[in-house]
């Protein structure tokens, strides 16, 4: 657990956690950092376990490791097993590895199964002040709890399994201050998409980012997770938010979180994690959210984003030659033309899901838009809850009926169409309003065209068959 030294220079949240986890320091400054928590899924782990076997090594701390299947699982009925032989083998391989190496494992039928970055927090496996890694770039999500969390590759997965440590060099630090009050109808997704649009898709490369400011403090844990989730989308190694009462209230009573007196002691410790007032950062950026408008991406990376009230930009308007060429390529791929109004763009598919936006609050917000209305007849719309737990809770609240009655499909939990490793993919040329995190070429299916939006904006696009400004809709309350 982290603790603040009473003396010494002021420290930022990142420095406190980093310094508290240094096992050894190399002459060049590279540190061997202790890893408290390791999440494992089926796609990036088979070769790591194979490496352990070939070298005759064991998992050093199985109890600090949690495995779950999420990327390959179908979101339709799974009781008959997985039809795709490669997906099935990958899932079976994780099951076998977890069993052989003594790791806790949630299989595709487990009531706790879900997207790795949804279930970690949900189970209280994600705690403030800890170091958390996973062979998945969206591990940055867990930084919402004041944890140092980042994605790693398979070689590092193997390294953590074998040693419970990682080599880390101290990156630069950035304070991203989100100032002002978020206007009504705006979401955490709009905040982070707007910020990426402002700082650029590589604006965070080489940095660990701390999100702070009034707009962040006002966010729920689920909203904070949406923000931190997309840290990697502007290149940051990790994104983090200092824990506060919102954080502690979320964690109390969770399966893997401390309980009773231990929880009280932990909270006291966690309070000391917040950055000291005089802490220094290599860079300080302020993003004002008071004038923010719902965001829609138009291109093939998350930095290619405009307000829904805007239009597709003219590539010639970009100063940088690389940006101009990238914008031209993106428009060709997306089949859009400069000057086209965002609200005139029609969609074929809507995907509400992913580790960015498939938690209960996301589904409630989308359901509030959908209630009593019908999905446009030309649109195929999908809701994929982030976890079986989220799905159950939504059903208890009657949200499944709201979606089903409107014409959405109501699926089982998994990564699904965020990256289409399971059968949920776009056909070539299909255009999708998606609550996921990446609009890369082919991400949701070869030739598929992705527009990133908030759950509310995705729900509205499903109803209207095109992008509409969610602030202009009349909302009806959800009836259970």
């Amino acid at each position: 657990m982290a603790s603040t030294a009473p003396q010494g220079p002021p420290k930022a949240l990142y420095d406190k956690i980093f310094d508290d986890h240094v096992v050894a320091r190399q002459p060049d400054g590279t540190c061997i950092l202790y890893i408290d928590r390791h999440l494992v899924h089926e796609v990036t782990s088979p070769q790591a376990f194979e490496g352990l076997r070939l070298a005759g090594r064991k998992v050093r701390a199985p109890e600090k490791t949690l495995a779950v299947v999420d990327h390959n699982v179908p979101t339709t009925d799974r009781r008959e097993g997985i039809a795709d032989p490669e997906s099935r083998l990958q899932v079976e391989t994780l099951a076998k590895n977890a069993k052989d190496f003594g790791i806790e494992y949630y299989n595709e039928l487990d009531v706790r199964q879900g997207i790795v970055h949804v279930i970690g927090p949900e189970q209280g496996f994600t705690l403030p002040g800890t170091t958390i890694v996973c062979g998945d770039s969206h591990t940055s999500t867990h930084g919402a709890f004041g944890a140092l969390a980042h994605g790693i590759g398979t070689s590092e997965v193997e390294h953590v399994l074998a040693t419970q440590t990682l080599y880390q060099q101290r990156p630069r630090t950035m304070l991203l201050e989100l100032a002002g009050d978020l206007p009504a109808g705006l979401t955490a997704k709009d905040v982070i998409l707007g910020a990426i649009g402002q700082v650029g898709v590589d604006g965070g490369v080489g940095y660990v980012v701390e999100y702070a400011g009034d707009a962040i403090r006002a966010l729920s844990m689920e909203e904070r997770m949406t923000v931190c989730n997309m840290s990697i989308e502007w290149g940051a190694r990790a994104g983090m938010i200092a824990p506060d009462d919102t954080t502690f209230a979320y964690l109390e009573g969770r399966e893997h979180a401390p309980r009773g007196a231990a929880f009280e002691r932990a909270v006291e410790d966690w309070r000391s994690l917040a950055s000291d007032p005089e802490a220094e950062y290599d860079t300080h950026v302020v993003v004002d959210v008071t004038e923010l408008v719902p965001q829609v991406t138009w291109g093939t990376n998350p930095g290619m984003v405009v307000p829904v009230t805007g239009a597709v930009p003219d590539p010639a308007s970009f100063e940088d030659a690389d940006d101009r060429i990238a914008a031209e390529r993106a428009l060709r791929y997306m089949d859009l033309r400069a000057g086209q109004r965002i609200e005139d763009i029609r969609v074929d598919r809507v995907f509400i899901g992913s580790c960015t936006n498939a938690r209960i609050e996301d589904l409630r917000a989308a359901a509030a838009i959908v209630a009593g209305q019908k999905v446009d007849e030309r649109v195929k719309a999908l809701v994929v809850p982030g976890s079986a737990t989220v799905r159950r809770q939504a059903e208890e609240e009657g949200l499944d009926r709201v979606f089903l009655d409107a014409g959405f499909e109501w699926r089982l939990a998994g990564c699904s169409m965020c990256l289409g490793m399971n059968p949920d993919i776009l056909a070539p040329g299909e255009r999708c309003a998606s609550t996921s995190n990446r609009n890369f070429e082919g991400r949701q299916g070869r030739g598929g065209r992705t527009h990133l939006v908030s759950p509310q904006m995705a729900a509205a696009a499903a109803l209207h068959g095109r992008f509409v400004d969610v602030r202009t809709l009349d909302r009806e309350p959800v009836t259970a």
Binding site: A24, E50, D136, G151, G153, E156, Y167, D202, I232, G442
Partner: protein
Amino acid sequence: MKPLREVTGTVAVLDRPDVDTDQIIPKQFLKRIERTGYGQFLFFDWRLDENGDERPGFELNRQEFRSASILLAGRNFGCGSSREHAAWALQDYGFDAIIAPSFGDIFRTNAGKIGMLAIALPADEVERLMESVDLDSGSEMRVDLERRVIVAPDGREVAFDFDETTRHRILHGLDEIALTLQHEDAIAAYETAHGLA
């Protein structure tokens, strides 16, 4: 991992910014449980059309770049997903060194772990190197990890930074886990001191 002291070979140029790992290797090839054989899937959707035929407009399909072992790339190369398959695919295809103004953080780390050199140089320097490549007949370059210099096609030497821990490990082809396990006492002491043992 085999030791790597220098890379000498022909150079390919992929002058596009923000090349993400979804392009380097699309998701349908991540379902395999093996570590080898990913080169055939490199830039699959950019390299090949729907019928599996080569797209003539894609840079790496140029005859002069076919046997390249050094790749000059745009800024933020390898951004996005953590899939190490991207680094495996590049290496299996034949690349031993990638030079770009900046890299996706996880990609750069992954490259270092498998002994592929991801070298960041100032953007104008990368541009100069790209300009020095003869696109008609191809050009050779040398990347000397020992001396941390690149010898450009015109013979000019360009120094680069490379983190010392990774450099040492690649130069000698060392197993990183074995190196870390030499710190077992320190790891155990850390766990005891933090009540984690």
